[in-house]
């Protein structure tokens, strides 16, 4: 038995070896005989498009699901995990792609859920709180351990999920898209923590669709495609182009602003918008914001987490109330309209958190896609199955959802494909203005390119698009105009010729890489 922390990470030693792993869900063959090595004290990154089988493989390694066939060898011994607890006992823990936290409990209790520190027959809350504070300090996050989880924004919840995994002091830590909701600064901190862990001999498996970011941290790259491993290489042999080529077969770029047409009239007019902090804080999350977006124009809103981007969009969509200001759709004041009426009028939002706000887990893929346009296929009270099916088919094709069919359960889709369903649902309402809050969250580079292409096409037909992102590379793609938000205000505005450094500087972010 090798103890952690006693060896230099330069020793290239395989701690865990997965051999010939296959997994089928009914007729879906998610994994078809994959070999995968985890090296001690090093970071191995798993790349692959949506539905390639990355999460499935990680769930197998961490005991969450059992493989159909294949073998896992840990420290030279073949083992079989029946559940996640057995894997955890062997020092393997996982950060799931979708958050698995209890929103009604506070940060401390979430971190120690199921592993409460017991002293004298009682939970030692003081000790738990102390450790939670330490973790927060390590992750450079200003969160009180007694805050209820539901009061945190999505990115902070993701930090809690990371903190929980780190606190388990595992030898192997699997991170399935841990940064999808994190800001660049938070990612920096996470990477520092990862480097710290690897010097202590902890092995990391990392999954991310932010390819450039992943390249800065990884030691090994493995590419999965349709359930088989298509490429492997150590860091020194690879670059971005290599990953993209192996992942999707050709070099995708995120496109450029569509041209060759005139913008129409102002489609969305936001004037002096003020939104108070909903958590009771004495400041404005959106502070005197004014934006005009023309029909056919694509605007990217860049900013750090907490800059007020989500709040602005949610307010425009009717979910949050504004303290002051006006929002006009065309010349219509939408202030008094309900969410449904705004969708009717042509103002639609693709929310940031697809699990909580985007999808109905009990419904099928098709029913989720058609949910926002029920009126379209209802004639004289009754819904028409034929009309609904054609609407669903069109949506599935438009956003290229990889699914076994419209009748499949929404939970059977990979994370990225679920995201596409949420986008497809709102596009099906034929909006005039489409707001997308972090639309690329969790989707692969190919899908991202497809989504952006789709948005660019719709813009050419007169759709006004506003999307937010935390990735600078995504600002400089299809957007005609880039607006940078900082603490609820617009701190700068650029056209598509701006440089990454300019944009990041305006967001109040230190330019590190």
């Amino acid at each position: 038995m090798i103890l952690a922390y006693d060896n230099l990470p330069t020793v290239d030693e395989v701690v865990l070896e997965a051999r010939n792993i296959a997994k089928s869900f009914g007729n879906t063959h998610a994994l078809k005989g994959v070999n995968f090595d985890i090296h001690r004290g090093q970071v191995t990154t798993l790349f692959g498009e949506n539905g390639a089988g990355k999460s499935t493989l990680m769930k197998i390694l961490s005991g969450v699901i059992t493989p159909t066939s294949g073998e896992i060898v840990l420290d030279g011994e073949s083992i079989l995990f029946n559940n996640a607890n057995e894997a955890r006992a062997k020092g393997i823990s996982i950060i799931h792609q979708e958050l698995s936290l209890a929103p009604n409990m506070n940060v401390r209790d979430n971190i120690f859920m199921g592993r409460e520190i017991i002293k004298g027959g009682q939970v030692d809350f003081a000790e738990e709180e102390r450790q939670a504070r330490e973790l927060m300090a390590e992750l450079e996050e200003d969160i009180d351990p007694l805050t209820p989880l539901e009061e945190l924004r999505l990115g902070q919840q993701q930090i809690i999920e990371i903190a929980r995994a780190i606190s388990q002091k595992s030898r192997i830590l699997i991170m399935d898209e841990p940064t999808s909701a994190l800001s660049a600064a938070e990612v920096e901190v996470l990477f520092k923590v990862i480097r710290d862990l690897t010097t202590k001999g902890v092995s990391i498996v990392y999954i991310s669709h932010h390819l450039e970011e992943a390249l800065t941290i990884t030691d090994h790259a493995v590419v999965l495609r349709d359930g088989t491993m298509t490429a492997y290489a150590p860091r020194k042999d690879i670059n971005l182009e290599w990953i993209v080529r192996n992942m999707v077969g050709e070099n995708f770029d995120l496109g450029s602003p569509p041209t060759g047409y005139e913008f129409g009239n102002t489609a969305l007019h936001v004037k002096n918008l003020v939104i108070k902090d909903s958590g009771g804080g004495d400041y404005n999350v959106v502070d005197n914001l004014s934006i005009d977006v023309k029909a056919g124009e694509i605007v990217c809103v860049y900013g750090l987490m907490g800059a007020g981007r989500s709040e602005f969009m949610e307010c425009a969509a009717g979910r949050l109330r504004a303290q002051q200001g006006h929002i006009l759709l065309g010349d219509e004041d939408v202030n008094k309209l309900s969410i449904a009426e705004r969708i009717q009028a042509g103002l639609a939002l693709v929310p940031e958190d697809r699990q909580k706000d985007g999808l109905v887990q009990t419904m099928t893929v098709g029913q989720n896609l058609s949910l926002a346009s029920i009126g379209e296929f209802t004639h004289k009270l009754l819904t028409s199955k034929a009309d609904e099916d054609s609407l669903i088919d069109e949506s599935i094709r438009a956003v290229t959802v990889k699914t076994s069919g419209a009748e499949a359960a929404i939970g059977s889709l990979s994370g990225g494909n679920q995201q596409k369903v949420v986008i497809g649902k709102m596009l099906a309402t034929a909006p005039k203005v489409l707001l997308l809050d972090e639309p690329s969250r969790g989707i692969d580079i190919g899908a991202k390119a497809e989504v952006f292409k789709l948005l660019a096409e719709r813009a050419k037909q007169g759709l006004a698009v506003v999307y937010s992102t935390s990735e600078v590379a995504e600002c400089l793609s299809i957007a005609h105009r880039i607006i940078v938000m900082h603490k609820g205000k617009i701190s700068a505005e650029f056209d598509h010729t701006a440089s990454k450094e300019q944009i990041m500087a305006a967001s109040g972010e230190s330019v590190t890489h």
């Binding site: 887990q361 009990t362 009754l382 819904t383 290229t400």
Partner: protein, 350 residues
């Protein structure tokens, strides 16, 4: 574009027809198979059980629970619960009985005898009013459904007791010279050999089934029960849906109250006590999830039949009332166990 092409082939392959899976079939059709088993068992035990007459009698009992269960299904699909239906049934029965006695309007100095149809409509309106109170409390004042309907359960029962001073109305026949006869028609009459109460149940079930599977409202209901915020952001009027389901549950309870007091030819303030639990049981046995978003009319009707045919069967073969309770409880727990088997696997893949 090779990536897109590939995705499409994958789609084509996995859309291949599914194999017939016996275990799955048994699990999904469990309420149906349970019903068949119950019928076979009691037919073997008693020669009287498997007769047309007995089935009609049992079915008219089922009608009461079935009506309550349909209303309950709508509420449960929405992710709520309605504990007040038993009391609403009692209150509505008493209210109908009260109307049949004639309404004395003091300042006109005359007594007004509403005709049967007026009684039916007014009673349904009362049920709707109780349901609306529930719905508004839950949807607009954010009172948890369990608590709000527990409250109305007591209040409705209390009002029923106050109205009659604890006594029972026995004169429901009406008088031909007053033009208010026919109340027993609901409980006793038959149309083409089928009891009116059963016909009422069938009509309500068909309407309910159409509503939840074929109308926009039905889709709203399933969506808001599955994930209310997502439904809200997709433009579903979640509050309206909520109020409506409680309202409809109240109307169903009122109908059940009319049928029951007509069957008993009396309206007592304690009628329908604990019936809400039977209704919930029927819905659950029918495969609905108490967390909302899953359930069907077909399942619920089967659930009501299972409970009704089981308890009547036990009476027929002379099992004591105490054992009946034990059996019913066992069936309910078994049903919930199977529900978690069915939904457990597909729900855990996040």
């Amino acid at each position: 574009m090779s990536a897109t092409a590939q995705k499409q082939t994958v789609q084509g392959v996995s859309a291949a027809p599914k194999k017939l899976d016996i275990g799955r079939l048994l699990l999904e059709g469990r309420a149906f198979f349970a019903l068949i088993a119950i019928i076979i068992f009691f037919s073997l035990m008693s020669p009287y059980y498997f007769t047309v007459n007995n089935f009609l009698i049992m079915s008219s009992h089922v009608a009461i629970f079935g009506l309550l269960a349909l209303g309950m299904l709508l509420v449960i699909l929405n992710g709520g619960i309605d504990l007040s239906v038993g009391s609403t049934l009692g209150l509505c029965g008493v209210f109908a009985g009260f109307l049949m006695q004639g309404v004395n309007i003091e300042f006109l100095g005359m007594t007004f005898y509403p005709s049967l149809w007026v009684v039916v409509v007014l009673t349904c309106l009362l049920g709707a009013a109780v349901g609306t109170v529930n719905g508004v409390l839950v949807a607009h004042f954010k009172v948890p459904a369990f608590v709000a309907t527990l409250g109305t359960m007591y209040v409705a029962r209390g009002i029923a007791l106050l109205m009659t001073n604890g006594l029972t109305y026995n004169q429901l026949e009406g008088k031909p010279e007053l033009g208010n006869t026919g109340f027993e028609w609901l409980g006793f009459n038959r149309l083409a050999g089928i009891p009116i109460s059963v016909i009422v149940l069938i009509v309500v079930a068909v309407l309910c089934g159409l509503m939840i599977s074929r109308t926009a409202f039905g889709r709203w209901l399933y969506a808001s029960g599955g994930n209310e915020t997502a439904a809200d952001l997709s433009g579903v009027p979640i509050k309206r849906v909520k109020v409506t389901v409680y309202l409809l549950s109240g109307v169903c309870a009122a109908l059940a109250g009319l049928v029951l007091s007509s069957q008993l030819t009396s309206a007592g303030p304690t009628a329908g006590t604990t019936y809400e639990l039977t209704a919930i049981a029927a819905v659950v046995i029918g495969g609905a999830a108490l967390t909302g978003g899953r359930g069907t009319v077909r399942g619920t009707i089967l659930g009501a039949l299972v409970i009704g045919y089981l308890s009547d069967g036990l009476v027929i073969i002379g099992v004591s009332a105490y054992w009946q309770t034990v059996f019913t409880g066992t069936v309910i727990v078994l049903a919930v166990l199977l529900n978690s088997l069915q939904y457990g696997t597909s729900g855990k893949n996040r």
